[in-house]
């Protein structure tokens, strides 16, 4: 069927003048396939059901809006963590600022190098997991990323990695339009932690494909940067095999528009998949959207979605979360909670939790709430001498605790908690 006019106009306007990068034959084919998907599905418009709560116009426009740089006095996140730093400036790899791309248990390459290599494992992941995640809902911005991305990082964990990898996204150009595509392959029994920090660009499209083999472990902790005017659409597509663990946590500060899509497919028995997020937004220009789709296609697997949003001064938060339990995926344990703390009457939270279940021996639950600070708890703290603002912040952190607990590494969780405390103290 032909695309609706608005959709085809939007798509053609965006693709005008876009040429596909070239590399190895398989890479060229992957990009061409992705571009075919873009044309077939069309870019999202505000009429799409899946974009009902978030207007995609500024993400699909050919032109990029300006985003002022945010100057922070704070030290870079995870500075004290022994890690492999991989730095991108406005979406371009910066070798000088990066560490040697090497650590025990890890193979790290620049995406462009991998895409130029004739025989590479990336062939079986690049655009492959993204394509799998295009049904039943189109995620055309992800396909566009696959088609045009030239930079990013390609990581293969062959054993328990000696240290985490930190992708650091610096933003220096007020009109940058960055596209990054990262791959992670976790071999059987291997384990790796991926950290992502920074605002990246004025507009940022980032895609992460994660292939976790049997018994593998993937930890992901991300802190999306603080620039108020930046826009970002990010996708994470993961394939999760038997007895493996996938845990992803995202903290978002500020940003005029953020859409984080996480599409997980559990394909092996006894696997665990957790995705969690915290966002804090101040002001009517803040719009944050978490869209999650978890497919259970194996027996005895557990998934959790824990999303918490703190919204104030007219900020908007969106959550669309789905658990799909396929036929035969018995003993599935699916949990989903999305909650917002609205610090005033002007802020809003829009939630669309969904369950779709085709197996009869499963335990799935979902819940969604919006609320203000609990007055009784506030009084309790104040009656102990804790000043009003401090009490409110303590209760805000209390509200966020369940999501922060999803971070396995306590040190990382503590650092993010401190940053949140700082943010709350600055936004009174």
């Amino acid at each position: 069927m032909a695309l609706a006019k608005l959709k085809s106009d939007t798509t053609e306007a965006r693709l005008a003048g876009v040429t596909l990068p070239t590399g190895a034959a398989w890479a060229n084919a992957a990009r061409a396939d992705a571009m075919a998907r873009v044309r077939e599905m069309g870019l999202p418009t505000k009429r799409d059901e899946y974009w009902k709560y978030t207007d995609p116009t500024t993400l699909t426009d050919a032109a990029v809006g300006q985003a002022a740089l945010f100057h922070s006095e704070e030290a870079a996140l995870f500075d004290a963590v022994d890690r492999v730093r991989v730095v991108f400036v406005d979406g371009v790899f910066d070798a000088e600022a990066s560490d040697d791309l090497a650590a025990e248990g890890l193979e790290i390459e620049r995406l462009s190098d991998a895409m130029a290599t004739d025989i590479h494992w990336a062939k079986d992941v690049y655009g492959v997991l993204e394509a799998r995640g295009q049904k039943p809902v189109a995620r055309t911005l992800a396909a566009l990323n696959t088609a045009v991305a030239t930079d990013g990082v390609v990581i293969r964990a062959t054993a328990k990695a000696a240290k985490p990898i930190n992708l650091i996204y610096l933003h220096r150009d007020e009109t940058s339009d960055a596209v990054l595509h990262n791959l992670v392959k976790v071999e059987p029994g291997a384990e790796v932690t991926l950290l992502e920090t920074g605002p990246a660009a004025a507009r940022f499209s980032k895609l992460l494909e994660v292939d976790v083999a049997d018994g593998g472990t993937f930890h992901h902790v991300r802190a999306q940067g603080r620039d108020h005017e930046r826009r970002a659409v990010t996708h994470c597509f993961a394939r999760i095999a038997a007895e493996s663990t996938f845990k992803s946590f995202t903290l978002t500060f500020n940003g005029v528009l953020t859409r984080n899509e996480c599409v997980l497919e559990i394909v092996g028995d006894d696997a665990t998949a957790h995705v969690a997020g915290v966002c804090v937004g101040d002001g009517k220009d803040f719009h944050h959207d978490d869209t999650v789709f978890i497919t259970h296609d194996a027996v005895n697997c557990e998934s959790r979605q824990v999303f918490k949003k703190v919204l104030r001064n007219g900020a908007t938060g969106v959550f669309q979360g789905k658990i799909l339990v396929k036929e035969g995926a018995q003993k599935t344990d699916g949990y989903q909670i999305s909650q917002s703390l609205l610090l005033d009457d002007d802020s809003q939270f829009l939630a669309k939790p969904e369950l779709e279940i085709y197996a009869d021996d499963v335990a799935c639950s979902h819940g969604s709430t919006s609320g203000a600070i609990d007055e009784t708890a506030l009084f309790y703290l104040r009656s102990r001498g804790v000043p009003h603002e401090d009490a409110r912040n303590l209760l805000t952190l209390s509200f966020l605790a369940e999501a922060l607990e999803e971070i396995a590494d306590e040190g990382l969780a503590e650092e993010l908690r401190d940053r949140l405390e700082g943010w709350l103290a600055r936004h009174r």
């Binding site: 609990d374 007055e375 009784t376 708890a377 009084f379 309790y380 703290l381 104040r382 009656s383 102990r384 001498g385 804790v386 000043p387 009003h388 401090d390 009490a391 303590l394 209760l395 952190l397 209390s398 509200f399 966020l400 605790a401 369940e402 922060l404 607990e405």
Partner: protein
């Protein structure tokens, strides 16, 4: 210490008078008890004194060592030395009991212009005080009141009191939800804090708590007023005959 004169209070949201002229004076070092049937205004009195929202003072005054309490924020009243042990202590997930205690202690010290306690000094003090209340290290680490039994919550209230060292302690139905052993433990905690410079106002339905925390003066509250005051024997009278006789007598 605490002086309440003609205190009249209504609910903010509806036109309902709760306190209709309460007079009460508590001297330093004294333990007063307020007893009374449900709905007599006992808990309201404790909330109004500590500054909870939702009430409107329509008349009278309340002072702590001469300071007008009613215009102050709850945290200012706390810093002056007022403490309310809650009937239903609030659960605060994700905030460790120890963190909470330290935040409270240091906030009060700061507002009084005193130096904050160092982590080491604080830890030493909290451990010693927790031990006497049979609060173990695990309870100190757990989130505030989350998963605590009724008795544990009340012991935790007394621990907070012990750490904050208030001058004027109000205990709002501290005996509710306690078994005999827990009541004994809590009472011992309270009694250990009795001193010349510290006063208590014990609010309770039942006389049994007053077997453990022996009051100097007992007041009977009914329909928003203190209708009768006397010695500890008044509590026994309530225990034996209920409130009906006393209320009939003062009506």
């Amino acid at each position: 210490m605490l002086e309440i004169k003609g205190l009249e209070v209504k609910l903010e949201e509806e036109d309902k008078q709760i306190l209709k002229g309460v007079d009460l004076k508590i001297e330093p070092g004294m333990v007063h008890a307020i007893m009374g049937p449900n709905g007599s205004g006992k808990s309201t009195l404790s909330y109004v004194l500590s500054g909870r929202d939702g009430y409107e003072v329509t008349g009278g005054s309340a002072t702590l060592e001469g300071n007008d309490l009613l215009d102050m924020e709850p945290e200012e009243r706390a810093a002056l030395g007022l403490f309310l042990a809650f009937q239903y202590p609030v659960e605060i997930p994700g905030v460790g009991n120890m963190t909470f205690l330290r935040t409270a202690v240091n906030a009060q010290r700061k507002s009084r212009g005193e130096e904050e306690l160092s982590a080491a000094d604080f830890l030493k003090e909290v451990r010693a005080k927790a031990k006497s209340l049979k609060i173990d290290a695990d309870m100190l680490k757990r989130p505030v009141n989350v998963g605590f039994s009724g008795g544990e919550k009340k012991r935790n209230e007394i621990l907070q009191m012990a750490m904050l060292e208030p001058k004027m302690c109000i205990l709002d139905e501290t005996d509710s939800g306690l078994d005999v052993d827990a009541m004994k433990l809590v009472s011992e905690g309270v009694n250990a804090l009795r001193s010349e410079g510290r006063s208590f106002l014990v609010i309770t339905h039942y006389q049994r708590l007053l077997d453990h925390i022996k009051p100097d003066i007992v007041h009977i509250m009914a329909d928003g007023r203190i209708v009768k005051s006397g010695g500890p024997e008044l509590a026994l009278e309530v225990e034996n005959n209920g409130y009906a006789d006393i209320l009939a007598e003062v009506a």
